[in-house]
């Protein structure tokens, strides 16, 4: 009996130790549910083949991503070892103690030199200019445009366009030209519309869209260092940009008041619109015959400059951060060592991920790899981003709630909207302890 008990205890101890050992060989990454997460899973499968460490990419639908992540972080849960988080999360996650400071890691791998400058600035550094880094840029992304090449190159359309606007129908060289083109193709009677843009009042959809035009017009969402909002958010440039965004919205398909990336791609795939604004990460499905019958006719361009020549676009994309409550930090660091290697970054780009590695981005091979990579390359060097303060979510919700009634419902004027937003943000920032003005 005693022998049996000893054997059972020994067996149980062995199993327990074994399970702990196996546990240490597993890493979990949280990301949003979209194609790049599938590409990342393919990439980490190769890491597993090399090292035997199982890495799982767990995904959450985009609208719930922020909520799910911060619920877990606030509970100091260890369910995830790493997260591929939005740039806006940096302030809340770093000051909240949820992310591990990766400044030493960044220095060790010299990432400030090898990654595209905008990606280090917006995906990794917080506070801005502090030299403190909290993530490794993983998926570079920004807003760009897809268009119907066949419509643009149709001789009859070209002739009619030239007659109406006095210049050639082509990829727009300015935002104003983009609006002309949208107006020209807007023919509701033929179920054909000008442009599909973001309008959803959830997450960052409508805010990203408006931001894209505000930046291109030389406007601003505030000074992120001095917290000045008044006079910038409601500057004449920002107001004009919002007016034109509303104009673009009116050239969209009917009932276009709840649109984000999926709706834009659907409108393009259904042949409804001449142009669609979307994050580059969503463009692969537009050139796939299986998901878009018009794939062969798709063209892409970077966000065009505004009326005064300013040339900017809204940043998307994410960096990968190590969660403070992870039980496997050492193993996760080893994974990140592997991830930032040039060969891994190259493989990441081959699989469809948007590497932030500057050398790969600039290479001819990358720029010619897909019909949209050239536009992506051009965009990644002219991006600007939203606030990344711990209070970013309040600022984002307030912006969405303010923009929506004007852009979608046509309530009030652009000036009233921007004045209202500036006043609201000053109040919110002041209440949070910033010297906002």
């Amino acid at each position: 009996m005693r022998k049996t008990m000893v054997s059972l205890l020994a067996g149980a101890s062995f199993l327990a130790l074994n399970s702990m050992a196996v546990h240490a060989q597993e890493l979990t990454i949280l990301w949003a549910e979209w194609d790049p997460a599938s590409y990342l899973q393919e990439l980490v499968n190769e890491y597993q083949a090399e090292t035997g460490v199982t890495v799982t990419v767990e995904t959450v639908p985009w609208p719930d991503f922020q909520t799910k992540l911060f619920t877990e972080l606030n509970a100091q849960g260890s369910a995830y070892d790493m997260v591929v988080g939005d740039s806006q999360f940096l302030g809340a996650a770093s000051t909240g103690g949820h992310y591990v400071n990766m400044t030493d890691f960044i220095a060790k791998h010299d990432l400030t030199k090898t990654m595209a400058p905008a990606t280090m600035k917006y995906y990794s550094e917080y506070p801005g200019g502090s030299g403190q880094y909290w993530s490794v840029p993983l998926e570079g992304d920004a807003l760009g445009w897809a268009y119907r090449k066949d419509w643009f190159e149709d001789p009859k359309e070209m002739e009619a366009f030239k007659a109406k606007y006095g210049y050639d129908l082509a990829v727009p060289k300015t935002f104003k030209e983009l609006i002309d083109i949208a107006e020209f193709f807007h023919r509701p009677a033929d179920n054909r519309y000008g442009a599909a843009i973001y309008s959803q009042n959830a997450g960052d959809a409508i805010v990203m869209g408006v931001e894209n035009s505000v930046f291109a017009y030389g406007g601003s969402f505030g000074d992120y260092n001095t917290y000045q909002v008044s006079g910038l958010v409601n500057s004449p440039e920002s107001i004009e940009a919002l007016e034109d965004y509303r104009k673009l919205f009116t050239f969209g398909p009917p009932g276009w008041g709840n649109a984000f990336f999926a709706e834009v791609n659907t409108a393009m795939a259904q042949g409804q619109v001449a142009m669609g604004m979307n994050f580059f990460a969503f463009f692969p499905s537009l050139v796939n015959e299986a998901t878009n019958p018009h794939a062969a006719n798709m063209g892409f361009f970077a966000n065009p400059p505004g009326p005064r020549g300013e040339d900017f676009a809204a940043l998307g994309g994410q960096g990968i951060s190590l969660i403070s409550y992870s039980q496997n930090q050492e193993e996760a660091m080893k994974f990140l060592d592997w991830f930032v290697e040039e060969k891994t970054q190259k493989r990441w780009a081959e699989l469809g991920g948007y590497t932030a590695n500057a050398a790969i981005l600039e290479s001819e091979e990358f720029r010619k790899a897909t019909p949209f990579n050239e536009a992506f390359f051009q965009t990644m060097f002219k991006v600007r981003d939203f606030w990344a303060l711990p209070e970013y979510a309040e600022l984002l919700t307030e912006a969405a709630d303010t923009f929506y009634p004007y852009v979608v419902n046509g309530e009030g004027t652009a000036k009233e909207t921007m004045d209202k937003l500036a006043a609201t943000w000053v109040e919110t920032l002041t209440a949070a302890g910033y010297a906002a003005k």
Binding site: F70, N74, N201, G257, N258, N409
Partner: protein, 300 residues
């Protein structure tokens, strides 16, 4: 022996089978009470505490007691009042619609019909679906470009979910579709419990159909109808999922969606706890009014 057991009180019967009062208390009562305290009472009191602080779940900053400031700020916020009035109108439209459709269907099914069982089962299907699935499903139905509703009604591209004047009604119609079967089910139970001899007596007295309905059917079914209305009012007041997935139109924003935004998108834990308590008090007040009517109806 069998007779003796059936005449004993329940506790003694259980004891005679080997279940003492202490065992029953330990196995059933204590776990239930403990579960309720841990998962209901404790969070309720804990969040009441939060409602008087500036606590943010996303921050490790020190928590300060702010008294009634959160309640005052929430009640002074015009957006909150807009969502409250939207919610109230939504509850009126949705519950009235469910009451009319549900009770109407019950009256229809309370008479001899071929395939009545199958028909009842099919009519109950909507309420068995997940609200999110229903919301997404109706979003497609309402789509102005390819949705079947506009096509079937020959309406052209009506933007049901993004039109500020229509969005709330579109969500309410979906809720009516989903939850009318619940009212139907309760009404059917009430209707089948009305004693047949009352109808026979009314028939002998040559009472008209309307007179019979208003003097016999409705008074006898009223208590159960009120229960259905209480449940549906409480649920409609808390509606979140259907509205959240269907539209982002501010004109259709319900109080639960605003609460979700404050609590889980903006992480304003203190103010959102205060708002949650204000909603709770409102629902309790409305329910209390119904319960008073219910008691009156029962007395009759």
């Amino acid at each position: 022996m069998a007779n003796l057991i059936t005449t004993l009180d329940p506790a003694s019967r259980a004891a005679s089978r080997g279940w003492s009062d202490t065992t029953i208390r330990n196995v059933f009562v204590i776990p239930t009470v403990a579960f309720l305290i841990i998962f209901n009472v404790f969070p309720l009191l804990y969040s009441l505490g939060f409602s008087f602080t500036d606590f943010r779940a996303s921050s490790k900053a020190p928590v300060n007691f702010v008294g009634f400031k959160n309640y005052i700020n929430v009640l002074a916020d015009p957006v909150i009042w807009r969502t409250f009035s939207t919610t109230l109108w939504y509850v009126i439209v949705s519950v009235t619609g469910q009451f009319i459709v549900g009770f109407g269907l019950a009256l229809l099914l309370n008479r001899p019909l071929p395939f009545k069982g199958l028909l009842t089962t099919l009519l109950m299907l909507p309420m068995m679906l997940s609200p999110v699935v229903v919301g997404l499903f109706w979003k497609l139905i309402y789509d102005p470009s390819w949705g079947i509703l506009n096509y079937a009604l020959g309406l052209g591209p009506v933007a049901w979910l993004s039109d500020a004047n229509l969005a709330l009604y579109a969500v309410a119609i979906t809720d009516i579709w989903m939850w009318s079967p619940f009212v139907m089910l309760l009404s059917l139970a009430g209707l089948s419990a009305v004693p047949k001899h009352l109808y026979e007596a009314a028939s002998i007295d040559r009472a008209g159909k309307l007179y019979t309905f208003f003097r016999i059917t409705l008074p006898l079914v009223a208590p159960i109808l009120l229960i259905a209305v209480i449940f549906r009012t409480m649920e409609a007041f808390k509606t979140f999922d259907i509205a959240f997935v269907m539209t982002g139109q501010p004109a259709a924003e319900l109080i639960s969606s605003r609460l979700y935004k404050m609590a889980f998108q903006q992480w304003q834990t203190g103010p959102s706890s205060a708002l949650a308590y204000i909603i709770l008090i409102m629902v309790l007040c409305i329910t209390n009014i119904y319960v008073k009517y219910l008691n009156k109806a029962k007395e009759r």
